[in-house]
């Protein structure tokens, strides 16, 4: 957990009273919508189809049980009893009234939660691996660095008026769970040959209308220099970035147009020319932030407790354990993923009752801590293995033990046309139908790891370009159509998917996806060959042939 300091708390409270005043002036007509819009966006308030939407940041995906309970309270008191966890370690409330928003913000501020930098052309929530600090083999806890960057960039004038929004993600593990290659800046923590800790810096990733996978700009930047190096990148970006055209304003376009070598050279020159701008992180500064992260007092526990041996006879428990329970860096503990993807449910939604119950379970079994990942699931990061059987029973009762993590029904989907005013087509009902088609867990197990991502328009909030199967809503003559890509991935081998054929109407999407999966099952050379690997080995053509032969 991270303890906010006094400065942060004062800042958050000031923002609430400032916003309360702004809302009052808006409702009285003193402020026009044009004047107010930028102010509400700075506080995470969008306008959707049916209501205002309120986006709240969950820095590096770490929440306390107290904070989660407060989300439940906001959902119940000001919304319709649920919230939506997004791919950027945020939660969104869909039905909030403008007149009540200042109260909701104030209630959240009491537990150190805010909505700053969840929208607008600024530095957004710095995301990280949801298993940070507990994943085995991690170099060190990447959240320390997320926090250092967050502190440096929060409300910093230079980062508040960028040509466009700016997103950074950090990972410190071998396997990239933070999707760093699709961020404006991706940071991979590693050690160089001298054993010094630093970052591989990637730049220019992003999806949307013009998707790009980030490229490495510098293989190693020492940790103490990371702020000044990011500063150099932003200076070059601020200097060249296109403010004239919103579609070309992201750093990915600049990197693409200049080429990574030239861009890297510009940044290096800027970095040298900057000299010492007071951004070098000394040991004390880093340790100060490190000391604010507290870790539980783990017990010394056996690797294989009796409770686990006994429960091994329970088939349902075993299936869930194999699917949703992962190794922890401390012996006797596990990381447990809570699937927010029940069969037939909207991906990423949680009811107030579920949030309260998860908070209670976190207190009982996970030292009061919860994590939120970009796959729109939750996790309990410190569960003693002996408690797994009891936890399973409790989660199952709550509908949070669907054994489908990383499987075909663990779908990432944006809100789409059911909520979003920019949408071409619906996302959630497509996801719901697919979870029903693949509801049989044995079939899903047989298929193996397969990520389906759905976006309702080209903004790509559902990361469709990097889904193993990507589904993008488009419009044709006023009807909902969907383009389907295959072979994308968002991890350390990130890649954009390839279009498999012409767009299909709403009613046919699930059939086509079933056919794609069947084609894969027929074509894979052994059961362990994952969907993406089969596509990589064979290319799109053999799958296209099978799927479109009869259409």
């Amino acid at each position: 957990m991270y303890a906010y300091d006094e400065l942060d708390r004062t800042l958050i409270n000031e923002r609430v009273s400032e916003f309360r005043d702004q809302v009052k002036r808006r409702l009285s007509g003193e402020l026009t919508e044009d004047e107010f819009k930028i102010l509400r966006l700075q506080n995470g308030v969008y306008l959707q189809l049916h209501a205002y939407m309120f986006r709240v940041a969950i820095p590096y995906g770490t929440l306390s049980s107290k904070q989660l309970r407060r989300f439940a309270h906001v959902a119940r008191r000001y919304d319709r009893g649920y919230g939506h966890f997004t791919t950027r370690q945020n939660i969104q409330f869909n039905w909030i009234k403008l007149a009540e928003l200042p109260d909701a913000l104030a209630d959240l501020a009491e537990v150190g939660i805010h909505a700053m930098q969840t929208s607008g052309n600024n530095m957004r929530n710095v995301t990280s691996d949801q298993w940070a600090g507990v994943a085995p083999g991690e170099i060190e806890d990447p959240r320390i660095w997320s926090e250092l960057i967050r502190q440096h960039t929060t409300l910093h004038p230079e980062f508040s008026f960028l040509p466009r929004k700016f997103k950074i993600a950090i990972t410190a593990a071998e396997h990239d769970r933070a999707a760093i290659k699709i961020h404006d800046i991706g940071l991979r923590l590693h050690k160089n040959a001298d054993g010094e800790t630093g970052f591989e810096v990637l730049v220019g990733g992003g999806l949307g209308r013009t998707p790009f996978i980030a490229k490495t700009i510098k293989p190693f930047v020492p940790g103490r220099d990371i702020l000044s190096y990011i500063e150099a990148i932003l200076r070059v970006y601020n200097q060249y970035g296109r403010r004239d055209n919103i579609y070309k304003a992201r750093i990915k376009i600049l990197v693409h147009e200049l080429g990574i070598e030239k861009f890297a050279k510009e940044v290096d020159e800027e970095w040298k020319a900057m000299g010492d701008v007071g951004l070098t992180l000394d040991h004390t500064a880093i340790e100060e932030v490190r000391s604010r992260f507290s870790y539980p007092a783990y017990e010394k526990l056996p690797h294989m407790p009796d409770e686990l041996k006994q429960a091994a006879h329970d088939k349902l428990f075993e299936r869930w354990r194999k699917n949703s329970v992962s190794a922890h860096k401390v012996q006797g503990y596990s990381i447990v993923t809570l699937s927010l993807k029940p069969v037939g449910g909207p991906p990423g939604d949680a009811t107030a009752e579920q949030m309260d119950a998860v908070a209670d379970l976190a207190d009982k079994y996970s030292f009061g801590e919860i994590r939120v990942g970009h796959e729109q699931n939750l996790a309990l990061p410190h569960v003693a293995k002996r408690d797994l059987p009891a936890l399973f029973k409790a989660l199952d009762r709550l509908g949070l033990a669907t054994p489908n993590v990383n499987l075909v029904t663990d779908i990432i989907a944006c809100p789409g046309l059911d909520y979003c005013s920019l949408a071409n087509a619906r996302s959630i009902p497509i996801a719901q139908e697919l979870t029903r088609r693949f509801a049989n867990h044995d079939t899903a197990d047989l298929i193996g790891r397969l990520h389906i991502n759905i976006s309702g328009c080209i903004n790509a909030c559902g990361h469709h370009h990097v889904g193993h199967i990507g589904i993008l809503g488009v419009e044709k003559n006023g009807e909902e159509f969907y383009q389907i890509t295959i072979g994308g991935r968002a991890d350390e081998n990130a890649q954009l998917g390839t279009l498999i054929g012409p767009a299909v109407p709403y009613a046919e999407v699930a059939d086509v996806i079933e056919d794609i999966v069947e084609a894969y099952l027929a074509l894979r050379d052994r059961p362990e060959e994952l969907f993406v690997d089969t596509v990589k080995r064979l290319g799109v053509e053999p799958i296209r042939e099978r799927v479109y032969a009869t259409r």
Binding site: R26, L27, S28, G29, T32, E33, L47, Q48, L49, H50, A51, Y52, G81, Y82, W95, I96, K97, L98, A99, P342, G344, G345, P346, D349, T351, E353, Q354, L398, G399, L417, D418, Y419, S421, L422, A423, N424, A425, R426, I428, P429, Q432, E475, G478, E480
Partner: protein
């Protein structure tokens, strides 16, 4: 459903209404013939020509305190004078999400 938020040229091809979101709570509202807003589509002022549409939109836009982001949306007129939303987007705005939210028992 191309987002109608950036309507530039106003040209309508059938019966239309002006819709927006109510400022204080964001609810979907329709401009009435009495220069007010209603949450009921049935109460909306229906226009049939581009000139009428332009005039209704201008009048609605002037009420910046009442509602946010007004635009022209198509409707269908059924026998007996019943008004229906003219496309899926407007259907969802009028009737709510097409998802049955799952609430645990």
């Amino acid at each position: 459903m191309t987002s109608p938020l950036e309507q530039k040229k106003i040209r309508i091809t059938g019966p239309s209404v002006v819709t927006a979101n109510r400022t204080w709570d964001g609810a979907v509202v329709y401009r009435t013939a009495k220069q007010g807003w209603s949450t009921e589509l049935a109460d909306s002022a229906i226009v049939n020509t581009s000139d009428e549409a332009r005039a209704l939109l201008a009048e609605a836009t002037a009420d910046d305190v009442g509602a946010v982001g007004p635009y022209i949306a198509p409707v269908e007129l059924k026998d007996g004078g019943k008004v229906k939303p003219g496309n899926l987007r407007e259907h969802i705005r009028a009737k709510g999400v097409t998802i049955d939210l799952q609430v645990p028992a």
